[in-house]
Each structure stands twice: as structure tokens, then as C-alpha cells.
Amino acid sequence: MTAPFGARRIELRSRREIGPYVVLGAVDERTRAQPGQFYMLASAERWGGGDRERPYLGRAVSVMAVADDGSIEFLLHDVGPGTKRLCELVLGDGLLIVGPLGNGFTASPPGADLLLVGGGIGIAPLVGLQQAWGGRALLGFRDAHHAQAAELFSDPVIATDDGSAGHRGPVTDLLEAELDTRPRKIYACGPPAMLAAVKDRAASHEVASQLALEAPMACGFGACYGCVVATLDGYRRVCVDGPVFDGALLA
């Protein structure tokens, strides 16, 4: 399915905070995103003039959840001038969107046993994935404050770096324990080190993994070639060849 052409203005319909994160809600009347797809987001007003006179370009943000009525949610974390501006938006403000973009996760056969592995802001696409296809969510966070976002999932298992909530240690400890029980399909999104560890665990247990990557992007639709990732087949654009890649194909 293709995306509507061009940047479109939609209105912010909802905003709520969960721990350090902000959930922005809007309605895309034109189309429905698939789990793992993303939009380029910018505020319609006052985009620019922040720290070091940024932001300038849109920000690639995963779709967190989509409903049949077209309502769509994004999970944001204020980590720079772009996400800061997006987190400051109030109801009724304009959002400029391009999307939905990229190749989402591929559905597994019905009845397949899914493991969803998320780290930090990378949990976002797994929320909608679990709503659509189910699966057991293993979530890693810095601390209990960040781990409040686990409430977006049904029946999650939590790990934190400092042990203030759930298991103390990396989320891949949880993954290892689950894979020792029985092999399953892995869907993961999170920081690069986490994804590298998930890829290794998947390989050593000989299970398939679909990894949603993040990369700074200028355009999101294959024009700039700025977001490449090394694969066994050379550099590939995260925006149009991903953002979901088969873990076995990543270099």
C-alpha cells in the first residue's frame, strides 16, 4: 500500500504523558499504517529556532498504534530540538506529516508464538504489533520511571538497568530465558546495542528475527540516501528498504 503524496497537515487530538514519554494522538483520514511503519513528523508552526537554530528537518517517528477509525498514536521522548518541539505541542496544534513510510513488520502465520523485545523509546512499534498480532512483550528500560511505559502493553515482562523495576539487567537476559524454554519468532526494536544482542541471540537459537531500526533521516522516502545501514548485501536505506529488516541479513 502506498502513502499519500506530499506533506499533510493534521491536528493534534490527544496528548498524554507516561513517565518521561509523551503520547501524541491524531487522525490520519487517508490511510492506515502497518505495525513497524513510521511517519516524518514536524510541527506546522514554530519548527526551528530551538537549540542551535534547529529543528529544520522532520523527525522519523514510529507509529505506536492505529485504530480502525484512523486515529493514530506516536510515542515521543524529548531528546533533542525536534522531539522537544513535538513534545511541547498542545491540543489543536498542527502536525505536518509525510507517511506512512517504510516496510512494517511481516505478520507470522496464525498461531505463531511471538516474542516482542523492546528497549526504551523502541517499544513504540511493538505496542501496535501486540494489539494486532499478540505476543509476549519483553521490555527494557533505564529505570522504573521510564518503565511506566510498560503499561502500554498487556502482560509485559520488564527489565531495568538499575533494577528499580523488574529484572535488573539487559532485556536480552529475559529473551535468553524465554528462548531457552522454546524457540519463537522475534520482533524487536530498540537501541543499536540491544538490537545487536537480539540478533546474536536469535542466531544462536536459530530463530527468525525482525528488527526495526532507527536512523537519522532527512526525507524518509528514499531520496537522500542518508539513513543507510550495513547489510550483508551492502548499504541499504533504512527508510525504504526497512525500517524492519530480517536480523539475519544485517552485517
Binding site: A3, F5, G6, G48, Y56, L96, G222, C224, Y225
Partner: protein, 290 residues
Amino acid sequence: MIEFCGLRLGHRVINASGCFDVLAAARVFGEELYAAFPFAAYVSKTITLSAREGNPPPRLWESAAGLINSIGLPNGGLDAYLEHDLAALAGLVVPLITNVMGSTAEEFGKLIDALEDRPQVAAIELNVSCPNVATGLDIGADPDGLEALMRHIRPRSSKPLIVKLTPNTADVAACAAAAQAGGADAVSLINTLRALALTPEGSGAWLGGGSGGLSGPAIRTVALAQVALVARAVTIPIVGMGGVASGRDARDLIDAGASIVAVGTESFRDPAAGARIARELDDGFTQNAR
């Protein structure tokens, strides 16, 4: 209709090379892309003789009102372009301008020769921002070298040749005049300005390729100045570009001497920006406001 180097264009806005990949965009946006195609001509990304993988990431850095990139001209090489891309571009609804880069006059010659009998290619843009191995200067930064290059390739091509000038030179007007003296049909400018992005810690170059090229609104006034200088030095048409984000920006470049304008980084923010800018430009001309 606008006439530019023998090409008939629906309006005055085209894309800057490397800032729009019509084949990728067609996969993303489908039929809507062609139905509302934003550019009056499509300029390909740079094609080189051999395939190039491009520079290691990171390739991008957002700067103040702009973007620094170090992409490294990834492309499948001339043969893949001729075999695959040209066939895939058959659905293009506007003239195709193919951008090529060689590291020597001989390489440019081979690229030009290969495109000569391809009627689909309406014009050729020459990326002369490649370092000359002997001098270390960009070929296009040295007027004498640029004129010699043009004299080598001009006789080999019946197609309009557009020289994409580099702004990273002491005298852009002299380079433009040299391109014209060597037989160029048009010049396009400005290419990106050489720029350096440091890691957040300031400990070294952020970009995998080292330094990069700055684009976006940050360079708009530089583009305006260079287009004005070049317009006084040549009689051939000018493609003006550099930070164009609105019809007003486009009109400023045209007032400075450009015949048509190209949109680059603004298309990253909105793939349909070219159509909006063309519309705004048209409205401005209609009202004759200023």
C-alpha cells in the same frame, strides 16, 4: 510552457540532483507521484562509470536551518543505469536530465558517449565537484581545467550540457565563463558548500565521510550572490538553486539571473514542495507583485 536549452518545461522548478529519487518515491507514493509530479524536469542522482557504495554512515547532520551531508554518490554505475534505471524511468512524465561525474576527462567522455544514443535522456548535467587527482582542487573549481574538460566532451555530445558549478572556488564567475567558453549550454548552481560537523563531544568529524556539503535555507543568500555574479559573466541560461523553500526564494534567484530554479533539501521536508513552489512562483508572476 518554458523553453530551457531546447527542453520544453511545464514550469520553472526542477529538482536538484541527488535530492529526489523518482524510482524510490514511486514505490512509496505510487500513482499519486506521477499524477502530481512536482518537477518540470527530473534530474537523476549522479551516475559514475563504476558502481559506488557511498560513504560509511553517519551521512547526515542537521545544522542551523540546513543539512550537512556526506552521501558519497552511491549509484549502481553506468551499465546498471542504462539497463535498469532508464527502463524503469520510462513512465516519467517530464524530461529526464541525467547527472554524471567522472574523475577525468576520459571518464566524462565515456559517460557522455554512452548517453548519446539514448533519446530518453533530454540533457546531461555534469557534476564537476570531483577532486582532480593532480591538483587536489575540484575539477570545476579551476577555470582552465573546466574549460579543457568542456572542450574534450563538447564535440562528443549533441545533447544540452549543463555544468553544475561548485561554490567551493575562489571565483565562481570565472568558472562559469570557462564552462561557457568550453561549450556548455547552461550552468547550474550552487552545489553544496563544504562544511564540517563535529561529534556532540566536539572530538572529531561526525560524518563517516569526514567533511560534507551544506544545503538548505542556510545557504540561500550565498546562492543568490553567486547566481548574480555568474549572471553577469555568462550569456547561457542558469539553473539557480540553494535553499529554495518558497516561490519568493525562487523568484529572487530568477531576478538575480536564473532562468529556472531547482529545489533540493526542501523536498526532503515535503516531497511535493516543488509543485507548491512552482505554484507560488506562478502566482507571483501573475500578480507581478514586487
